[in-house]
Amino acid sequence: MLISAGLFCIGLYAVLTKRNAIQVLIGIEFMINAAILNFVAFGKFDKLNGGGQMFALFAIVLAAAGVAVALAIILNVYKHFRTIDPARIDTLKD
C-alpha cells in the first residue's frame, strides 16, 4: 500500500502551519488524519480482530473532542488578548 507515503506528506506539510491559531489547529487535524489513514490502511489486513478500524474510530472521536476543547480555549484567549496569533500571546514570558 503506497498510501503511507502519501499520507505522511499531508501531516508533514501541516507541521509548517504557524500563522493563526485556527490554522495551527487545522495542521494538527491533518497530522491526526494521517495517523488515522495509516490505521485504516493496515487495518485492511487485520480481519480477525479489526484493530485498525476500531482504533481509527477511537482516534476520530478523540480528535473531535480535542478540537472542541481547543476551540473553546482559542475563544477564551481571544477574549483576553483580542488576537489569536500565537506569536503575540506572550504574557507567560519573562
Binding site: I3, C9, L12, Q23, N76
Partner: protein, 177 residues
C-alpha cells in the same frame, strides 16, 4: 493501470494538493472551506482501504461537526483579521523557513523509512486474512466494540464527556459580579 488505481491516485493527489493549499492559503476562510475537500477525499481513500464505516464517520464528524465549530470560532474571533491579511514580520519569516526545513527533513526521513521497510513483505500482513470486498465490516465493528474493545470504548465515552463539559465551561460567559 486499472480504473480503480486511477481513481485511487486521483484522490490521493487531491488530498495532498488540497492539504497543501489549505496550509499555504493566506485567506483563512478559503483554507477552511478547502479543508472540506481534503476531508472528503480522505474519506474516499478510506473507502479504498475497505473501511466504509470509518469513511462515513469521517464525513459526519469532520464535515458536520469540526468544520462548523471551526467556522464558528473563526467568525467569532476574527474581526480585524477578516479585512486585512497579517503583515509578515522578520521573526515570523525566519520561523516559517525553519518550519519548512524541519518538515521537509522529516518527510525525507519517513519516505526513506517506508522505502526500506518493504511493507508488503511483512510477515504478519501475509499471514492474516485481509478484508474482502464482500465482508460486512459494520457488523464486525459492532461486535468488536462490545467485546474486545469495550474498555477503550468506555474510556473514550468518559473522555468525550469530560471534553464537552470542559469546553462548555471554558467557553461560557463569566458572570459579572
Amino acid at each position: 493501470m486499472s480504473a480503480e488505481q486511477l481513481i485511487f491516485y486521483f484522490f490521493g493527489a487531491l488530498t495532498l494538493v488540497s492539504a497543501f493549499l489549505v496550509v499555504s492559503m493566506q485567506n483563512i476562510v478559503r483554507s477552511i472551506f478547502l479543508f472540506f475537500v481534503t476531508i472528503f477525499s480522505l474519506a474516499a481513500m478510506f473507502v479504498f482501504a475497505l473501511a466504509d464505516f470509518i469513511a462515513v464517520t469521517q464525513v459526519v464528524i469532520y464535515a458536520g461537526g469540526v468544520l462548523v465549530l471551526m467556522l464558528f470560532a473563526f467568525m467569532l474571533s476574527n474581526r480585524e483579521l477578516l479585512s486585512g491579511l497579517q503583515s509578515v514580520k522578520g521573526s515570523f519569516k525566519l520561523n516559517h523557513f525553519a518550519g519548512l526545513i524541519l518538515a521537509l527533513g522529516f518527510l525525507f526521513l519517513i519516505v526513506t523509512a517506508i522505502n526500506q521497510t518493504d511493507i508488503l513483505q511483512l510477515s504478519w500482513l501475509r499471514q492474516n486474512p485481509g478484508i474482502g470486498e464482500n465482508d460486512n465490516t459494520i457488523h464486525q465493528i459492532g461486535i468488536h466494540t462490545m467485546t474486545g474493545y469495550l474498555l477503550p470504548f468506555e474510556m473514550v465515552s468518559i473522555f468525550l464527556m469530560m471534553a464537552l463539559i470542559g469546553a462548555a465551561h471554558l467557553a461560557r460567559k463569566e458572570k459579572k459580579s
